[in-house]
Symmetry: C2
Subunit: 336 residues, 2 copies
């Protein structure tokens, strides 16, 4: 620990060869004599040698590293997307450096700058908070793939998202099929994701000729937002029999609000979430939800980025994945 780390020179000296040969051997080249290879391996082993990643990337002029920014680690939805991202990135021979902005655009931007300093070869942004022009600027330096954020993205940026319009449609369809008409929406706030889900709600309600029954209430993507929104909604309008909440975490808050107001779920009130996090399936929560293909979102995002790194001038791709309704115990027929 106190002593200097062994370098490739130390290994070369000990093995009695040149350092280039050590480099070759360590890279697994076929044209190193078995004897030399063995000597080198032994020397490296004995010395506890590990190559210096900084020196390596400097010499190779590439870092084999991609930066990944997740909005927050507190919502498990990101852990699930990250599973996909990390596994695929590693499969393709790159490393991930993971950072969060804790939902704060400034921190987020600072983190992105850090990643850029690290000379990441690409950037994956999972539900970022940056504006289009900044992203565009960054995209000029390094390929970017955005996961989950349909709007706010400029040219040259690859994108994979879930089809939220269709997803919220699934939710509304399900409720309508159960006989509900007074279906309200508790929103996720003002982000582009929240807006898209709101738009999906409006479109679906209209498609069912239910525009006169539309009712929206401001909320956030947090437990508390869902709780407050639902309380306000139910107090102001007791005719509501079903609520589409902007995400699962907020829907869990909605469940609590309903319970406090004496509305039994699903008998008196149906509640439906969005995301499909593992949590929603916990038996004590048992939330009907629209599941995004979370891991696949991550895998696809990683593929997009790695493809672009391999071929930077390829045209930008926009992929939309299909959501899936998971019916659980928080929804039931109206007037049940």
């Amino acid at each position: 620990m106190t002593t200097r780390r062994p370098t490739i020179n130390d290994v070369a000296e000990r093995a009695g060869v040149s350092k280039s040969l050590v480099s070759l051997a360590l890279a697994g080249s076929a044209k190193v004599a078995p004897a030399s290879r063995a000597a080198i391996q032994a020397a490296a082993e004995e010395l506890g040698y590990r190559r210096n990643a900084a020196a390596r990337s400097l010499a190779e002029r590439r870092t084999r590293t991609v930066g990944v920014l997740a909005l927050t680690l507190h919502n498990p939805v990101f852990a699930e997307i990250l599973d996909g991202v990390q596994s695929r990135v590693r499969e393709r021979g790159y490393h991930c450096v993971l950072v969060t902005g804790d939902s704060d655009p400034l921190v987020e931007r600072h983190q992105i700058e850090q990643l850029l300093d690290l000379q990441v070869e690409g950037l994956i942004l999972i539900a970022h908070r940056q504006d289009r022009s900044y992203l565009q600027e960054v995209a000029e330096q390094v390929p970017i793939t955005v996961i989950t954020q349909p709007a706010e993205v400029g040219a040259h940026i690859d994108l994979v998202s879930n089809d939220d319009i269709a997803g919220v449609g699934l939710a509304v369809d399900h409720l309508v099929a159960l006989g509900h008409r007074h279906i309200a929406h508790v929103t996720g706030g003002t982000s582009s994701v929240a807006n898209t889900r709101l738009a999906g709600y409006r479109r679906a309600m209209q498609a069912h000729g239910l525009q006169d029954c539309m009712r929206t209430q401001d909320g956030t993507f947090s437990d508390d937002g869902g709780y407050r929104g639902t309380r306000a909604l139910l107090s102001a309008d007791p005719t509501v029999t079903a609520i589409v909440v902007a995400n699962d975490i907020a829907a869990i808050g909605a469940l609590a609000a309903a319970q406090e107001l004496g509305r039994s779920v699903p008998k008196d009130l149906s509640v439906i979430g969005y995301d499909g996090i593992a949590l929603s399936g916990l038996r004590s929560i048992d939330l009907t939800t629209v599941a995004q293909p979370l891991t696949e979102l991550g895998i696809t995002g990683a593929d997009l980025l790695m493809d672009r790194i391999a071929e930077p001038s390829a045209p930008a791709r926009r992929i939309e994945l299909a959501p899936q309704l998971i019916v659980r115990g928080s929804t039931a027929p109206a007037n049940g």
Copy 2:
């Protein structure tokens, strides 16, 4: 993006000075003439220059980076600890590289090796799965701080953990005060953390003279583990009136199991969790729990590591933080 990134030489040329001066100016040295400084700043700006972290660490022979390994990102308990770690590490002028082993010891080890290749100056392990001898070996190369894992740690390794023995004691005390005697424990499995909590349970029960009422059931630290464990327990022994579950996530599973078996919580059965994750406070969960000072655990861990990096030969420190009982709606008087 296609064009080569500007280097310090480009900046120097453009500003009409030597690259050493650029280096000095960028480091904020006072002995750079204001005029040169301005020219350099302007040139850097125009070129969109950012210094290459790899080259820098190579020249400086330090990376200003610490590696952080978290057991998994799926349990939000780690997000909360990480908040503390990251904020303090950054405050002290270092960067974090965050990785997970997804609860798999092999993946975990591979990740640690990666971090070592990156030449991190220190390692923070949050609930790792490595054995003592491997850790010891790594600790010879780089300072290590372990968060949350009381046992399994050798010499020269700093440590901060929650006092789980006392924590489980708090839980048992609370239940005893409510009149419970048949207090069972659903364990977290075989990890050292799980063992410590089990030991805490046994000790507390004995302290109350309740050794004859002790009842333990194998579980895991997951929702499912809590669910299965609780089902098995309740089916085998209906006299149990209260359960201490190994962590919050598993306790949420326990809640569901109780409900399915027709035991109403807290009326017929008290359930208490461990960790104090935000989730446990959600109104629809409302779990009584023993809260660890999660953020503080992270901050303290970061401090320990940074202190040791600054002074490698200081004696190892072991810090234990005090847990705190949070009484919510999942516990109530016995025979209520």
